[in-house]
Amino acid sequence: MIAPSITLVKADSRIRRERILPQAGEVVAHIGQQVSPVQVVARSSRQKEYAIIPAARILGVAAEEVPEYLLVEEGAVIQREKPLLQKSSLFGNTIVRSPVNGTLYQLSQGYLVLQQTPELIELRAMVQGYVTNVLAHRGVVIETQGAVVQALWGSGREGYGTLEVVVTAGDEPLQRDHIGSEARGKILVAGQLRFPDVLEAAAEYGVRGLVVGSAPGRLLPLLAKYHFPIIVTDGFHEQAMASPLFQLLQEMKGREASIIGGAGKGRQRPEIIIPLPPAAKIESEAADSHTLKVGQTVRILRAPHTGKVGKIVNITRHPRETGSGLRLPGADVRLQSTDVVFVPYLNLDLIV
């Protein structure tokens, strides 16, 4: 029994995904409802930062005396610059004005707490499908049929658009001249992202997302700043997109696709979902088992064969020596070049 890393790369699959608010709110979709990517399924309000005014200190009075100088009531809606407190004395008139738009949330121990007008959060379905479950106050489960490709890293943004493969091979980098006015509304697929100038072009021409096999690790903080989603499927060092992923995305060219997941560490794995018309034969999304078997397609995760794809021809229970001197159990993998190489199973990613 060997539990390898697993990546879903499926052409026809039943896909279920939870869509969850970052905080409790109102679910506005219902079970059985058909949803489009743009449709709002739940909403909530995100509290902006509070403004806190040390009223007692400013007025030079004890905390319990502050209410005497208050010009508005707790809960009152206030505009920026509205006078909140006034104190007259021999030395003049002290007026404290609101620094924000919002409400006077509370007066606590000599401090005024102003709640700024909250920001509305709308959670969109992002995937075309049906609502199969409602998670009270949190979100929904959406089910769809279609293709799914899981990635390694995501910038944390989500989006949808028409899938466009702009290169002819999985190792071809995205170039500036791949992006023009025809890229508007598209999710662009390329083998690699090497040149940062393509990002500005993508933003300028209204690209809805980028899917690349690899990107330089040093660019990740930059990628996270763009408003459209960017996902990396394979790695961070001039690595080609693995052939099963590239081929599937090529087959799906021109279809509507969604990019979801990838927000932060340990969150949902980033992926591309491409809803398709119902097919005669639908595979289960889940991996059949967690065990490596002869005949399975695998991707190699570490040097000297990083990113190469092949099929398992033999599984060895007994450890064998690797190039580093480590002795580990693993599998013989026949690469597309027909070479057979031994790979520790810890370095295999099962493509299902």
């Binding site: 890393s5 690790g217 961070f236 570490r302 810890l346």
Partner: protein, 559 residues
Amino acid sequence: MTTVALFDYVAGQYRLIGSARAPSTAREPWNNALVGIQTATATVAETIGRPLLTEQGKLLSPATETGIGVDHFASTISAGAPLRVLIIGLLRDVSIASARRALHTIYAREIATYSLGDDHEEEERVNFILRERPDLVVLTGGVDGAATQRLLELLHTLELAVGLLGPASRPEVIFAGNRTLREAVTSSLGGTVPVHVTENVRPTLNEERLASISDILGERHTDLKLKSLPGMGELRAWSTFEPVPTARAFADMIAYFAALHQQRVVALDLGSSSATMVVADEEQTRIHVRTDLGMGLPLQDCTDDASIADILAWSPTEITAATLLDFMQQRALRPQTVASTTEELALEQAIARHLLRSLVEDACKAWGWYDQGPRLPDFRLLILGGNTLTQAPRLGQAVLVAIDAIQANGLYAVAADTYGVLPLLGALAPEEPEIAVQILEGGILVDLGWVITARGRADIGAKALHVRVSTEAGGEYRIDGSYGELITVPLAPGTPARLTLEPNRGCDVGFGSGRGKTIAVHGGAVGLVLDLRGRPLKLPEDADARRELLTRWHLDMGG
């Protein structure tokens, strides 16, 4: 990684029968810690030819007379997100420093510290709490009986912030400050959030009490983080004893070795999601856990210029900063993978040196053993844990990484927890101490040998030390060591020997300048290591010369 070990009663005593490792599966795509445990258990079962699981993957328990299944199941946990903690206190060098020391005994991450003298405005502090939503706030400050006004001001900030948070987002609070304020704290916060009152960490300026707060921190970590880990419900159903945090269980075992040998023991455990240093002597056990140092996901955040420069300095192969960053990002997101080329292995060991060095420096600062660098007190045993060290293809590599990171003086034995079972015995020991002791006495660590370091103010190449090695079998040989050298001398595992150390004038091997001694040692997988490179280690500025030197040291330790 997940380690499963089977212990059984064989030939009159409990022994380790088998162990196996499998990738941990608490995260995507499995989201169930039990899958990794089942995988490793199945491997143990297959290796020893004894069924341990049902076909459905459930644990066979209790054991039958024919030896199928097990009687007890104990586990330790290091997976899961660390506890996110905000420290609020009065003085950074007093109560806050103590609270921080306590915090480093568990898997926690300090998200911020607010003290009286900092530059943060009230509004900023409140909004930070609202935005970051810590799991726990440690409120401390003031010696017992001191004035309370300043701490009350900080208490008010906290009260204001937690009152503004929704009920599901409110942190728990540990109060470990001036006992005069206990009632005020519980009455102002107790109606809003769970408040845990513990002993003041600094009842007087000269006294520090960490036991009580450390225990509560451990409990809160277990309740708030471990119990919600995916798969924990099933894991606890398997378990005879409550799962415990790995770092704590590991430290308990190091304390056992310190008591057994009546000597100070140092341990370094470099895991995927954390790094732990333990120093135990007969009086005290110090634990320092860093959840931002690890060979897995924490590497994503270890990309500052200073860290990259330090790792590059330890790399024996030429590599650019960009390539190193790519490697670290990949390693972070694929933590279960292993190096299959010598280049990648060397790179991982360079990263390990940097992480362990950061751990040692930080721990020594926290423990007051720092003066322009770590100043560890003398110790006689160094124990290594974690796959990067204990699973190195040649154990000389593990010793070299550890001694480069720790850069201690004197002489000490080195052993490795190669089977990864020390924490498991730590979990077992409170419930079944006799079994744990029997297993430990059966020899659970792999002896690597002895390290003898010498320092002095002489030029590289000048004679430093003469060593006479006498084995019980009658063998005797002599070694002359010069400053700058790293020498390994084979001495088979378990072989007792006497070393007569004769340092030259000005050379100190731990007994004073020019003073020698005869000591009893035993052999190990690496043998005797004479480290005459000086302290602190100085790497050449020139990149080619540095890489050449690193390669030479690597070869000196057996390649």
